[in-house]
Amino acid sequence: MTRVRRPSAQTAAILRALAGDPDRWRYGYDLCIELGLQAGSMYPILIRLADRGLLETSWEAERVPGRPARHLYRLTAAGREYAAVAAAAQAATEATGASARRPPRPRWEGA
């Protein structure tokens, strides 16, 4: 399996949010609200994901009077794969960490 560089916690959160419903186009500000991230953190991550071909972008096709068209985001096929691998790696790390942190099983001292 290809070794995946572990994404930052914020990137992982964005990947999880986008991978939750991969066919749905998402707005940047909605992701900010959902994940509690500031625009200054969110957009650089989106830009980097798009640079790496993991994020697909589009503009709203339907124009709403009184406001500009909004930018939309969803994961590409490579992005979905990356999100899945990153999530698996994260889960494995957490499992390893959890077993390492698990207190020793008490010995049976009966009889």
Binding site: Y27, G28, Y29, C32, Q38, A39, G40, S41, M42, Y43, P44, L46, I47, R48, D51, T57, G66, R67, P68, A69, R70, H71
Partner: protein
């Protein structure tokens, strides 16, 4: 005295024009203006992301949220994701090495230049690193190259003058008080001029802004040099102000955009400042024999700590040129720019309706 007269003229004539701008803030709420401005500063390949962020702002209803979002966009514009990380690192290291080298050379040969060399080298290296980070070098056109070359030539001429003074009259650079404040102020101003000239606008009206700003700066420089060479003093101090005012008004009216007018006028201010400084100091350096003529100078010189009259006069001239040519006249030019842009963008009043 000419400065006070110009200041009075600017204040008297300008306040009525500037009042609407101050009252209405140029239209739109402040977070929207921050977002628009910051998004427009993104490098060409990132412009779509600037539009994307700007399009989100209308979705944010609360005032605090809009300010937070605008701050975030500003942060992205200042520190966009690095596309060429290695290039940024190389620029930063090269800038540091150059600053260290220049400072060491100055400390070894011309001690009076050490502070200026260190400050100028570090600031220039820092600016180059930031510009590389922001991909400011992308999307160059012929007018941009010409404006950059003009700014670089002005700054290079100013630095050459300072080095010349340091080599032949080192005491003129080291202030008698021992505080090298002027060296630092000059370094800051020169790098600020370069940054302003190199951070030229992109997008709408960019070509007109650069073309007219550059043309205005060159025209005022020609008049300034001619007046200095022929010894016709006085009027040349007004040339830059009038040029900035005219350029700002013209571009503002032609483009129908006050912002474009302001940018063109600011370009005149930025490009003119080092040229004025270089011309002022060069004309003084052409003097072969320095003599004290002013009664105050004759009385003050023996207690000043300067070894000779040349150092005393050049030190005074350097300080004066930094304060007047670089600082005060630049401030006045900016004021003239605001006036010109406000005048140029004034909507024409509809003709009064008459019966019959």
């Amino acid at each position: 005295m000419p400065v006070l007269v110009m200041l009075a003229l600017v204040l008297a004539g300008g306040l009525p024009l500037l009042r609407p701008m101050l009252r209405h803030g140029g239209g739109g709420d402040i977070p929207a203006r921050i977002v628009t401005s910051a998004a427009g500063r993104l490098p060409a390949p990132r412009q779509e992301w600037g539009r994307a962020m700007a399009a989100e702002l209308p979705q944010i209803p609360d005032r605090a949220g809009r300010w937070r979002f605008a701050a975030g966009v500003l942060r992205v514009a200042l520190f966009p994701p690095v596309r060429h990380g290695r290039r940024v690192l190389v620029t930063a290291l090269a800038g540091l090495a150059a600053a260290a080298g220049v400072t060491a050379a100055a400390a070894g040969g011309f001690r009076s230049l050490t502070v200026f060399a260190a400050a100028f080298g570090l600031l220039l290296g820092g600016y180059a690193t930031m510009a590389t980070w922001q991909s400011a070098w992308d999307g160059w056109s012929a007018p941009r190259v010409a404006a950059t070359a003009t700014a670089t030539a002005g700054v290079a001429a100013s630095v050459t003058d300072v080095v010349w003074v340091a080599v032949f009259h080192p005491a003129a650079i080291t202030a008698s008080t021992g505080v090298p404040a002027y060296s630092i102020v000059l370094a800051v101003l020169l790098v600020a001029v370069l940054a302003a000239a190199l951070s030229l606008p992109r997008g709408h009206h960019a070509t007109a802004v650069v073309r007219w700003g550059l043309g205005g700066a060159l025209a005022s420089a020609v008049v300034y040099v001619a007046a200095s060479v022929t010894g016709a003093g006085g009027a040349q101090y007004l040339v830059c102000l009038v040029t900035a005012l005219a350029v700002a008004a013209w571009v503002s009216a032609r483009a129908g955009s006050r912002r474009a007018g302001i940018r063109a006028g600011l370009l005149v201010a930025a490009l003119s400042a080092p040229m004025r400084f270089a011309v002022d100091i060069t004309s003084l350096l052409r003097v072969h024999r320095y003599t004290l003529t002013d009664t105050y100078d004759i009385a003050a010189f023996p207690h000043s700590g300067y070894p000779d009259a040349a150092s005393y006069l050049l030190s005074d001239a350097l300080g004066g040129a930094i304060l007047s040519s670089m600082l005060i006249y630049s401030a006045l030019t900016i004021a003239a720019t605001l006036l010109g842009a406000a005048a140029g963008a004034r909507p024409s009043r509809p003709a009064p309706l008459t019966d019959g």
